[in-house]
Amino acid sequence: MGATLTLEQCTDSQISGILARDRSWDIFIDPPTVLRDNEATLRLPVIAGSDVAGAVPLWGFPALRRGAGSVLLVSGVDRPVERAKIALDQEDRSGRYRWRELAGLAALVGLDELPQLASRLCWDGPPDLMARRYLALVEVLQDAVDAGAVDMVTAEGLAQATSDPETVARILNLAGHVSFSNRRQMIKLFCQVARRESLTGLLAEMERIPPAERLPRLFTRRYPRLTAMRAQVERVQREVLRGTGVRLAEPPNFEGQRFRVSFEVGSTQELEQRQAGLDRLKGELDALLGILFEDPEADSLDTAPGGE
């Protein structure tokens, strides 16, 4: 039997009965108020069943909760995936659905049926695979991903580091105050450093230090050689060239064989300052050039796990 759609007028008690009957399809995030009011005039709630008395609400929960008088009754549609198509058509969202909504749909129609909804969901990847990834996360990570606090890849990296919800929450909290990009970087660095060190020790250490120091500290731990090389250049700039107006720059990522030395002059006196700086730099140059080709850390990282 094909689907039939009829417009029905419902009393308040009928609406209450419909809402009380089954809330399982109440999975879509409520739209913002301004959209919701507009929505109410454009699209009617949809209920599924042979008659109003026994119908299950499919879509339009906000309007139903407000006591909408008119509803669309769809009959002849029993398979959850077909009902989901109707709900998604009615939702007709232009933007992407939330992770939680995707998981809600998966629970209703089954993960294996989700690909049938792909064209309506507009996700970048196969919806069943995306839902599986989301559902594999602990709840605190699901919430973070759903809220957009972290992306899925970062969340999965964190999930690999620990499955303990409390520890996950503490790690997320470490990066609670920073931008999305910095949070992503912090969590990624934390997880990578934790593979070399004790996770609990690292977490406790990060919680002890001021929030602003966490990202630089993690970067130093993750990239000790690079940090040491940068520190050598910064030391020369700070201690040798301070006040001379001479700027020293290493080649990008220390790839190359030359440093860039630059300055500007506006007077004879300034030129003399620069010259004095260059004279002092001469004494440091061999050591500076040495760091481009001599490993500052030697093999000190060889205590790290290298094989499986």
């Binding site: 990239y223 050689r225 990522n253 220390f254 790839e255 500052p296 060889d302 796990p305 290298g306 499986e308």
Partner: protein, 338 residues
């Protein structure tokens, strides 16, 4: 060998049409499909090298494009994982072009190989395409034609030990790593000992040899591990080893999530001039110096060169010996670039 071959080829079916991978219907465009077609003009040419890094003037002939060995550091394990295997049957025109290029090159020998986009020998026992190359080009004295592999599949190759010159122009190149790395990171590739045994077998059957330490991976005790492999090469001191190449671990940035998931991915990688991620320059320098030292002991006089490295590192790690000249000179024919 047959059992391992069957494992590599499990589930692979062949399709005779359409003739190009891009023309495959979607349901066939997966790793279980083998596309067999004749090699085209674009399948032979200069190794693309990499921007801002020194070229080793190698020519490539694509014969097997794709690989199912499953090395964790390989580009094909990530965003190319769904590619089909392409078998590009060498044509007489291609082989004639290689012969002509070798005979007319200004700085012989011309170096050509088939291992750029796939393992030269992994599927060769099935398709036997190297036989045709060996038959056509094995006696071209100004040529060094390399079949590069991480397998020990040399049984099927013809015996060339009776050839008039005693040794042919054919080179079997073996990519090497310490066994610990092979076991952890090189999938179905043959163990080190098996590769070296195959190398000895190839040498005894009239083939020249090459060895490639690429990628050199910085793991725990890397110095000792790689020194151990280098020492094993001393048994080839009297064999015709044409060259040894070195290349440290590198990868395009999009591959980072896969690499960082591996233990060796926790090393410090930075973006180089070509955009690829590499170990820090001093780390690479230390690795190359160490390998040079070890290889000089094991295989004195054999040219050792770097793959996709900067001139700065070359200058500091590779002594400019006469043996390196054929490798470092641009390939020219009658004065013009090939």
């Amino acid at each position: 060998m047959e059992a391992r071959l069957r494992r590599h080829c499990h589930g692979i079916e062949s399709l005779t049409a359409p003739s190009e991978r891009s023309g495959l219907p979607p349901e066939w465009a997966d790793p279980a499909t083998v596309v067999v077609r004749a090699g085209g003009t674009t399948d032979f040419g200069r190794c693309p090298g990499t921007h801002g890094h020194r070229c080793c003037n190698y020519m490539t002939l694509n014969v097997y494009a794709g690989c199912s060995l499953g090395c964790t550091y390989c580009i094909m394990q990530s965003y190319l994982r769904n590619r089909t295997l392409e078998v590009l049957v060498p044509t007489r025109e291609q082989l004639l072009r290689i012969r002509t290029a070798a005979e007319e090159t200004d700085h012989p020998p011309l170096r050509v190989g088939t291992g750029e986009v796939g393992d030269s020998l992994l599927y060769d026992p099935l398709f036997d395409l190297s036989r045709q190359i060996i038959t056509e080009l094995g006696a071209v004295t100004q040529l060094r034609f390399e079949l590069k592999s991480k397998t020990d599949y040399v049984d099927h190759l013809p015996d060339l030990s009776g050839s008039p010159a005693g040794v042919s122009s054919m080179v079997i190149g073996f990519s090497l790593n310490p066994d610990a790395i092979i076991a952890a990171e090189e999938g179905y590739a043959a163990p080190l000992e098996a590769r070296l045994a195959a190398a000895m077998q190839a040498a005894q059957r009239g083939y020249r040899l090459a060895f490639h330490f690429d990628p050199l991976i910085r793991v725990d005790s890397w110095r000792e591990l790689y020194a151990g492999v280098a020492r094993m090469l001393a048994t080839f001191r009297d064999a015709p080893v044409e060259w040894v190449s070195l290349g440290t671990m590198r990868f395009p940035r999009p591959l980072a999530p896969w690499i960082e998931a591996r233990p060796y991915g926790l090393e410090e990688f930075v973006s180089s001039r070509d955009g690829k991620m590499r170990y820090l320059q001093p780390v690479r320098t230390a690795m190359y110096r160490h390998m040079q030292e070890q290889l000089n002991h094991a295989l004195p006089g054999v040219p050792v060169y770097l793959c996709m490295e900067s001139s700065e590192i070359w200058r500091r790690t590779v002594p400019p010996t006469p043996a390196l000249r054929p490798i470092m000179r641009p390939v020219t024919l009658n004065g013009g670039l090939l």
